[in-house]
Subunit: 293 residues, 2 copies
């Protein structure tokens, strides 16, 4: 796709092509529908926007590979939401303002939709990687490490099953890992240095975690499309509980400032800063934005 | 690892190294244990043996990549067993003669163990693919296609949730896909032509399906380490029900003969034929082998 096309359009088109492949000749129709339902309509697509933003800042010499990396990260994020909502975890009935996948399609298809989306993420990467073979292994490794064990989102979710939860590891794995993968994968897809982009992903991941805690206590379920008050209900630690609401907002703003300051010198830095400011403006719940202002 | 080392030893060592990575620094201990429990001790390791056998027949110029491909296929097979045994699918209490993962570790960790094993499969491939970058994209694509949608094992399992089951697609996806991936991935890992090895995988996949049907009706649960009589209990179609026990054994022998006849001319053909004869000798349940003899 033309790299001058709007990032949102490129992300939706790449996700749509991936889901079209998954629902192609021979597919069981209900699972194809459940996978599509889990991905569309999307949330803010923050992680894939971040990946494309970093790829652009690194020169964007392979837009199709950057789009595939961005889509892979979003597919993995969607897979984790589908499995997190299952009765054996959060037992959430709603997500993004509609029924959770297990409520709309039943538990078996929700388990399989998550599995299918994980596999589709790596398949999407591999198809685009044919044209840039030397970039594929580090891309798959980076994205897999942010998703699996020992420190990816699957590991993060598993800390909830431990008798002693390591909170810092829990948050870094459950939320931070995929943000950090988004910036590093964006760099890798464009032939850039992934390590230079790690701090940006880590600061934003932590900022997003603080924002999520704020949403959980301060938003209504209508506003964010999923149940709120879950941290208190499940006895989970939360920045808002620890720092108070205003303290948490201060911390969030500090982290976004650190994120922007961490951007390495590059041609596309100013556009990227705009992408990050736009994304992080959505972090604070509407009701609290008024309090903070 | 030295390619002259016994295939079984190479497979176990590669799986062990993958699980050691997954359980490394920062891992939540229970999930690390659940993943290892799902993989060891293994079953017959038929699929990875087949992959290594084909790689050897193709000249085995990159043993580490062949081992990674074989291990990836086995990790994906183990992941599918863990998820298939969940209460929302077969609700099986035992597997390979011990408690199923969801019974030993609980349902949340069983879901996550399956997810973690899927991701680990692709990560294992990517690490070995660094040394042979041009082979990685087709390997990931081939293995992902045999696992996900529209025609891999996830798709196969999803046919059980459709109001109208397409039986031929169901069996091809649920059992055949990973056998076909094993032969093609073995060839790809060694720089061979994957298409030449497709019939071998397909014949063996169908043979294995017939054998599984025979086991389901003729074995005791003690003999195969998981509940039997599941096809009848779940109303699933079965070659044994369709052809009768002796007809099914005839069909099985015919398929193994077709498989062996399909092997392309190559230096390692006679060793590979021995691998296949050894594997397929285990296909017929002990009690029926006496009847057939």
């Amino acid at each position: 796709m033309n790299p001058r096309t709007d990032a949102g359009t490129r992300i939706e088109a790449t996700l749509d092509a991936a889901l079209a492949h998954a629902g192609g000749e021979g597919a069981p129709p209900l699972l194809a529908a459940a996978m599509r339902y889990a991905v569309f309509p999307g949330g803010a697509r923050i992680r894939p926007r971040l990946a494309l933003g970093v790829a652009a800042a690194c020169g964007n010499d392979s837009p199709a590979l950057a789009e595939a990396a961005a889509a892979a990260i979003e597919l993995l994020h969607c897979a984790s939401l589908v499995h997190d909502d299952l009765p054996c975890f959060d037992d959430a009935a709603t997500r993004r303002g509609k029924l959770a996948v297990h409520c709309a399609y039943g538990e078996p298809l929700a388990v399989l939709a998550g599995d299918g989306l994980i596999v589709l993420a790596f398949e999407t990467l591999a198809r685009a990687g044919l044209a840039k073979p030397r970039r594929l292994a580090p891309l798959v490794s980076t994205i897999a490490a942010s998703t699996g064990m020992p420190t990816g989102i699957v590991a993060g979710q598993a800390w909830e099953s431990e008798p002693q939860i390591d909170l810092s590891r829990y948050h870094r794995a459950k939320t931070g890992a995929l943000f950090s993968a988004a910036t590093r994968a964006g760099a890798l897809a464009a032939g850039g240095d992934p390590d230079a982009w790690r701090p940006l992903g880590e600061y934003l991941g932590e900022a997003y975690q603080v924002a999520d805690d704020l949403h959980d206590i301060a938003s209504s379920a209508d506003e964010i499309g999923k149940p709120t008050g879950q941290d208190a209900a499940h006895g989970r630690a939360s920045a808002a509980a620890l720092l108070g609401v205003e303290g948490a907002i201060d911390r969030l703003e500090e982290l976004v400032a650190d994120a922007i300051a961490s951007i390495p010198p590059c041609a596309g830095a100013s556009e990227l800063k705009a992408v990050i400011r736009a994304a992080s403006a959505r972090f604070v719940p509407k009701s609290l934005a008024r309090v903070a202002a």
